[in-house]
Symmetry: C2
Subunit: 580 residues, 2 copies
Amino acid sequence: MQTARSITVTAAASLTAVLGLGVLTSCGTAAGQGDDDYTGPPVNGGTLRVAFDADITCADGRQAGNNTALNVSRQITDSLTDQDPETGEIVPWLAESWDVSDDSTTFTFHLRDGVTFTDGTPFTAQPVKDNFEGIVDLGAKSSLGSTYLAAHFPGVNNTTVWADPDSGSHIEFAGFEHFARTAERGLFDFLFLAEGLRLREHKGQVFDQDVVGRPETATVLSALAAVTTHIGLTGTFNSTFNEPYDLARTLATLDRVSGGRAAWNVVTSHNAFTGANFRRGGYLDGADRYRRAADFVSLARTLWESHRGSDGSFDWHSDFFDVHGTFPVPETPQISPVIFQAGDSDEGRDFAARHAEVIFSAHTEAEDRKAFRTDIDQRLAAVGRRPDSLKIYPGISVILGDTEAEAQERYREVRRAQVHGPGAIAFLEQVWGRDLSGYDPDGPLPDVGPDLDNADITRGRVRHEKDYGAVARRWRALAEEKNLSIRELVTEVSGRGGTLIGTPAQVVAKFDDLTQQRDVDGFIVVPHITPGGLDEIVDRVVPELQDRGVYRTSYAGSTTLRDNLDLPAYNHSTSQEVSA
Amino acid sequence: MQTARSITVTAAASLTAVLGLGVLTSCGTAAGQGDDDYTGPPVNGGTLRVAFDADITCADGRQAGNNTALNVSRQITDSLTDQDPETGEIVPWLAESWDVSDDSTTFTFHLRDGVTFTDGTPFTAQPVKDNFEGIVDLGAKSSLGSTYLAAHFPGVNNTTVWADPDSGSHIEFAGFEHFARTAERGLFDFLFLAEGLRLREHKGQVFDQDVVGRPETATVLSALAAVTTHIGLTGTFNSTFNEPYDLARTLATLDRVSGGRAAWNVVTSHNAFTGANFRRGGYLDGADRYRRAADFVSLARTLWESHRGSDGSFDWHSDFFDVHGTFPVPETPQISPVIFQAGDSDEGRDFAARHAEVIFSAHTEAEDRKAFRTDIDQRLAAVGRRPDSLKIYPGISVILGDTEAEAQERYREVRRAQVHGPGAIAFLEQVWGRDLSGYDPDGPLPDVGPDLDNADITRGRVRHEKDYGAVARRWRALAEEKNLSIRELVTEVSGRGGTLIGTPAQVVAKFDDLTQQRDVDGFIVVPHITPGGLDEIVDRVVPELQDRGVYRTSYAGSTTLRDNLDLPAYNHSTSQEVSA
């Protein structure tokens, strides 16, 4: 009848629901706590008030999958099967019996006769079929409410706190290994490595306020492949400075060495500062960078698939590449590594809609997340792709405490450490285009305005803002309005959005809530300590997510990153079609 | 007085040598076995005949280090210390006492008074000093007679027997891991991976008689770094199709991930067939390939050392590269990976003398080995390098049996499997430039001559011979002289030289003998089975080498590949000087 991964169905029939809720203890801070305080013997009738510790976002059983939502929706719907509260055994309910195919992918349910919906309509196979198809039609929104986590290895950025005594090396392999093993212990989908193609410079000097240097990404990921078994290995590789044949060989080998866990975060660049490292003519006109990236990915996929043809041969002639030959790495478990995209420009979003399978999103606030999902869904529809073929993972930081107050105090400490005095001055200098080392970071903003002709004072860092004059005016207004020092201003404007702050239980409730809203498919956790910053999250948050029933308890049948991410199998013809 | 790794010294003094040889049992097949067969009680006087199972190549104690040579040279020389035969304790001999510095690098010996040489000259510190300095002056020849082994991962070549039921995948990582762990269990210096840049083609088709395809070398080595601790990781990387900044980042990261075990076998190419895979203009004029390789290595070393300057910056403008910037990978344990060279042309040898630290030599026969060492020594001297700064490791195959006859029979089986019928025809077609599929491999050579205009019938394979017409004439003469079939001819002309065939004891004696001749510094074992072909050698040959006292019993203090190879520490100024 249907190939299904879940056998729950929302056909509301006339059978009375007997759900065996057991005893619910109400949570002290939850909304809806009653003022009745009855302690006598059990009575029939009356009102049973149940407290939930998370918002019941959606009563549609096709969408809601966490226990809170199910506790509500099960009052008004029935299911094909039930579970014996004593033995845990799955027992007949709307279905009298069922058959499972040998390969466990087809479930045939034989429905009970004489059942009617509340309006008297007879219960048939059609509404069951409609409900299952409705799940598929919902696309990305239909996944049954699980929280998915991934991990960003903290690197060269202004959120990592290098001054913390717990911070270690971000260069030694032991640190990467610890991080990867921790993320895998936490059953994360993947870990994510950035790349550092050139040391950042500030005022003509290598910028050394935090740390300097970074090992090559593919080499580190391959070593991590040998000491892990399930976690996905996502590396950032530039499509401007690499060449398709080289990178395709490396990524195919990584996919093979890891048994199908490779992913490529495609980034573009056109800056000559970085390009000077590479080779004559190694950088591009800005207008061409996404055109080259698209051509690069399409060619790489052609190489990865070349053994599907007769002899591994390929032939590619375009504005950017003029190559033909044979590809020496045999087909790999995923065929193509999972393609990630991270830039937020209009061209970046279009590129993602055409080529990517995961977006590392910068949209951390609720409204932004919703608008971003809508925008991406529209772009996907425009190129004929299903919504569930592109996952959205925003970055997120987590600050835990034993109490909410302790967590808030830790957050303030972390922000103070993230924005130290010299760092605040350097941050301001990036926008001002001037040497501001004579100013007190704890004093007011500089009396001079920005030197807009000197916008290259910092090189090798992503520039998110185009108009530094406007940024300077906005910051000055904010500082005057709130009476902020330089350091306080930088603390206010440089923070990473969407940090979850609280006790493990509070953070877990927020994760679950965010997941229920369906604007994201998972989160990339960005710790502020290297390499141990993930341990606390894996030790304290993951078990609570599991207790709540919204997080995997093993990798189970997942063997590839595509499995971890619940992505459709790689399909050449689709990818080619949309990239045309 | 001297910093020394050995305290043995060849000062022959007037003390009578009492060496406590113990009872020597003579080996049944050894030369020099006497015809006296005395079985009565011990007597004074007479002749003691001692049988050794290896040639006593050199009685110079500064050179000879194995037990056989020492057993002879100790009859005519004395040493600073002796060893108590009962307790094994090191006791005074020519030195009455000695002091060892706190860091165990300086040993000061206080010499006994009243000792004279056999000619009456008084024994003083001077001859001891001269002997120690003589060891240093001998360069590569002075190492004290240890056997060094390395391992070549069997790949796409005509010595691997893919038809053997024990042959596994040469693509799956598990095979590489097994091989690396076995080599490390055998305390090998390094393992060696080739590279496959394009699938070989024969008669216009991908050549698939054995296996097809190969994973990318650096990616595999990095994964191996994570599952091994001491073995060197040598990868072959082409200097024509790679770019210095890219490859330097990858190799520096491999050196870091492995804790200082990376090596780069520099190969060159100028064939357009391979180049077509890569990028526009990705191949070179043949005359420029070693010029580019030299420039590439010098630039890569400049990148690896760039942090020795103030800020990691570099600036390089040459015929081949025009780059400047900063290098993002911090300095690594070895600073530069160990540089290997493998080509045998005149330019290749010059390149090795100027830039390399290890040669993977093709010279396996005794005379060739000696001539090659002499040639390399001369080239080293011409550029002012010490002989011990460049190690020579020829490839070697080993065939073991419980008896010599069994080993010889196994060798014949292996050769039959290596040269199967279709393979023999394809081998002949490479030289003949013609389709010979109509000929019987077990019949005589083709009646037609070679088509010399069609020498490109095979592409993607190294061509060792320049004049195929001459080769064909030579082979035809050989076949007529010995009445050989096609297959017998190919078996005769395609074999790998220098295969050691015998019982483990016989093979060990040959290894030791070869090492004593000083024409090579070690051997790269090339098994014919993937990936398990090394196990037998590690299980049966290595323990016998250890028993003989000519093979390491642990990696001891070795932490880098340079340590394994006993190479001098990397020195920028030397390498720059000789590459000028």
